[in-house]
Amino acid sequence: MKDNPIDPELQDLLASVTEHGRNQRRQQKLLAQIDKMEAEEMRLQKKRRPLWWVATTGIAASMLLVLTIKPQQQPLVAHNNTSQPLRIQQTDSMAIKVNTPSSLASSAPSVSAQARVSMTQLPAANGPQTMPESNAELLSEPTDSMIVTTPSSVELFADNLADIPTDITAPTSDRPVIKTVRATLGTESQSTESLRIKNETFAFNLALGPKEEEEMSQNSKFKPLIVNNL
């Protein structure tokens, strides 16, 4: 097909139409290219997303694990709480085992074993035994834990005192607490029965506050204040 001869003006007019059409097509190509690049970026972002999800889920799971486990450990960690569970005393009974000479273990049942049995036989209805904060702090000291006790552990000691050989209960320089308590209670020449009574009184004094304790000590020949000085 041959075009009719076109004058320059008309040719120029049609050329502007052609140029406009070309630019339109080029722009369409470029816009399609932009859409492609945008889609590619989105695809790459979606590919990366699973890694983020795994990381976030992992962190969340570990935090959840920490939060669920931590409350179970709290009673063991919190020594300064005013209400101490009986488990602390069981920990102290380990110190008794350490202080007991190994030669005596064959002849008589160990103090620690008996103490452990006695503590397990405590009435469950009472629930966890509580004690004042000052006594709880004393219990955390390993060397004195055998003697420096809550009322219940003093009773345990009194119950088992008769079975313990004299060389264990004898005051020594490395067991100053034993020495102090014994000196206070005067058990060296007294019977087991009187010791029980005195220990019960001592335990009662421990359970009282400092004010009541002072009043009691004025009317008593025993002086549990020495124990408080520990």
């Binding site: 097909m1 009719n4 007019l13 049609l14 052609t18 470029l30 816009l31 290219q33 690049m37």
Partner: protein, 160 residues
């Protein structure tokens, strides 16, 4: 810069970029490649374009650099005086004005003549495509175009 804003920017400055590329490469198809590469580079840097004051200069400069790169690939042993390649003036509005003027005249033509002219000159379709789409013979198309030229010529004379 969002994708939509970027698209608007490209549509606005594409004619200038194309002119710059054609002035360096003297080839419309290579120029299109250069503009496309420049556009990709701009897309990768689009987060920094918001703070750019003169977007047109940036776009045209980018097209110029890509055109020179393409020219160096084609003619590795030819020296290119980059300083001589000045950024052209903004695309003259008279192209758009002329297009609008032409369209005003073309719109006065009968519908079949309008379609045939636009398909031939704006869409740059060949005779076979036009005859197939308009469902006419090539002789018919020749006649339609001849009449359209004559009518346009007459209208332009009358406007003068």
């Amino acid at each position: 810069m969002t994708s939509e804003v970027f698209k608007k920017m490209i549509v606005t400055y594409q004619p200038d970029m194309q002119r710059m590329a054609e002035s360096v490469l003297h080839d419309p198809y290579l120029s299109e490649d250069a503009v496309q590469e420049a556009m990709i580079q701009l897309w990768q840097q689009r987060n920094r374009l918001d703070s750019e004051r003169n977007l047109r200069a940036l776009c045209v400069t980018m097209a110029k650099r890509r055109s020179i790169d393409l020219l160096r690939k084609q003619r590795p042993f030819q020296l290119i005086d980059e300083e001589a390649l000045e950024i052209p003036e903004p695309t003259p509005n008279n192209i758009e004005e002329r297009y609008q003027k032409a369209m005003k005249i073309i719109e006065r033509l009968p519908s079949i003549q309008q379609k045939a002219l636009l398909m031939k000159y704006e869409e740059e379709k060949n005779t076979e495509e036009i005859t197939r789409e308009l469902n006419i013979s090539s002789t018919n198309l020749y006649t339609i175009l001849s009449r359209a030229y004559a009518a346009l010529r007459e209208m332009m004379k009358n406007e003068k």
